[in-house]
Amino acid sequence: MRKVFGEKVAVRNLSLAVRRGQIFGFLGPNGAGKSTSVKMLLGLVKPSSGESLVLGLPSGDVEVRRRIGFLPEDFRFYTWLTASELLKLHGRLCGMTAARLRDRIPALLELVGLTTHREKRLRDFSKGMLQRIGLAQALIHEPDLVFLDEPTSGLDPMGRRLVRDIIRAQRDRGATVFLNSHLLSEVEITCDHVAFIKEGEVVAARDLRSQPDGEIRVTARARNLSPGALSGLAQWTTSSHLDGERLTLTTTNTSALPEILRHLVTSGADVFEFTPERLSLEDLFLKIMGEDRGL
């Protein structure tokens, strides 16, 4: 899909497939086109060209909307509604019966931790509470697919943990979760699969559940490191950098680690520290997105 607003290309060439039953993370810097992409999948925004299928039907179709939930970024609603009234309204818009809502609303309020605030009006809600009630309205009809746009922004650590648990519970009941986020540590512990979007295009995708094929970074502290020893590392590493005693190198192969250490020691270096660590999602993100060239 492609979306152009006037002169500005918001989404250049989005091509994406998400399997059912997984938690999918859609990552990208601000202005990369994440929200526009999600809005196209929801039918809120019409693509300038291209098309998408959601649950096997054209996106935006009323039948699709019956089976999806959506938490918009920065959820806002009529401030005079109470938490219960808001859920009742959204449940009725989803076609739920009064009898079903009588059981469902208290259960949902309990789930998002707002039971004691059920009769409070939205105008008295904090940003975090709005986020929680927004999540509840997205889940009211137990949708097969939930789109969450930055669901943990504005939440404290407890709130984030709660949202993470709720997201996992959705997968456990068989639903698919499409998560837009730039809180990478959150995504890393929640998502099964991620795709990176940059300047309106998917530039990479990773399966986080299978053995990560990412790079390993080694931070070492060594003295008496000869230039020959340093250049000899190139056969195992993809990069190496020496700054005083601090040596940073990257490799893609776990089995190369003992070889590298042995090479350093036999070439006469005194090694005080040798710490391999797998590249975090954040490192991967920065690597894929490249340097911040400023806005």
Binding site: V45, V62, F70, D74, F77, W80, H90, L93, C94, Q137
Partner: protein, 276 residues
């Protein structure tokens, strides 16, 4: 079903607007002033035994002023309450949680329209009944066809509401307000030009007035309502914004109704096709 849910929540949302209650307070203040004026006029007349004709003329002139004030308040209130009904919810993102529910967009729009139409109906009914009540209970004067005139004023408000909705699907709140108030102003001036043209037998002025009424028929509905409110005998004597020397024909009402339907259809079309 979805449209009715939207109508209900929109009615409640509209009824909470401060501007509505300000308009009600302004209406009440106006009604008290109007009742006081009527009261003293009635007292003066009974003190100096005025001729029934003069009495009748004076009271119907005052009632005209009263209904005109109600008309103006209702139109302004309609525009100010509904001006951000669509554009405001698009700008704030509120519409996103609604438009992703299994309710088609045209139902959302119609539901919101019905909600506002209900709120405006209550306002017009209360204010119209207020003026008619003051006339009847204080001066014993009830204009002919008050109900018909009330319905026409309501039609005028619905027309203005629909144009506000139409512009709201296309423009920002501020632009929308400027356009709708501008259109109503155009219709108002056009109405005057037409009346002056009719009094001075100047067909070109009348044409200018008619064209402006075709562009925005709101003011000409009021002039039809005003015509309905006048006793037959005064129709030929009066002139001014509250009275009418050239009444728009019933065809104008048909035109205004069609105008409303077309505007509503275009609003639905825009809302269906725009990005939210």
């Amino acid at each position: 079903m979805g449209a009715w849910i939207m109508a209900g929540v929109t009615f409640r949302e509209a009824a909470r607007r401060k501007i509505l209650w300000t308009a009600f307070l302004a209406g009440l203040a106006f009604l008290s002033l109007f009742a006081t004026g009527m009261h003293f006029q009635a007292k003066d007349f009974s003190a100096r035994t005025a001729s029934p004709f003069i009495r009748y003329q004076a009271f119907s002139a005052m009632l005209q002023v009263g209904f005109y004030a109600v008309d103006l308040l209702a139109v302004i209130m309609t525009i100010l309450t509904s001006v951000d009904a669509i554009s405001g919810e698009i700008a704030s993102g509120t519409i996103q949680a609604i438009a992703t529910k299994p309710v088609s967009r045209w139902r959302i729009l119609i539901g919101k329209w019905v909600g506002f139409a209900g709120m405006v109906a209550a306002y017009v009914a209360i204010m119209f009944a207020g003026v008619a009540g003051v006339g009847y209970f204080i001066a014993g004067a009830l204009p002919p066809h008050a109900l018909r005139a009330g319905m026409l004023v309501y039609l005028e408000c619905l027309l203005v509401l629909t144009v506000t909705f139409l512009c709201g699907t296309k423009f920002s709140t501020l632009t929308n307000g400027v356009i709708v108030l501008g259109l109503h102003g155009l219709a108002f001036i056009g109405g005057w030009i037409e009346q002056i043209g009719s009094l001075t037998s100047s067909p070109r002025l009348v044409t200018v007035g008619v064209v402006s009424s075709l562009l925005m028929p709101s003011e000409s509905i009021w002039r039809r309502a005003s015509y309905e409110l006048q006793p037959a005998i005064t129709r030929s004597l009066q002139f001014g914004p509250f009275a009418t020397s050239s009444a728009p024909s019933p065809a104008m009402i048909v035109y205004a109704s069609l105008y409303l339907l077309v505007a509503l259809s275009i609003a639905i079309y825009h809302f269906n096709h725009r990005d939210l």
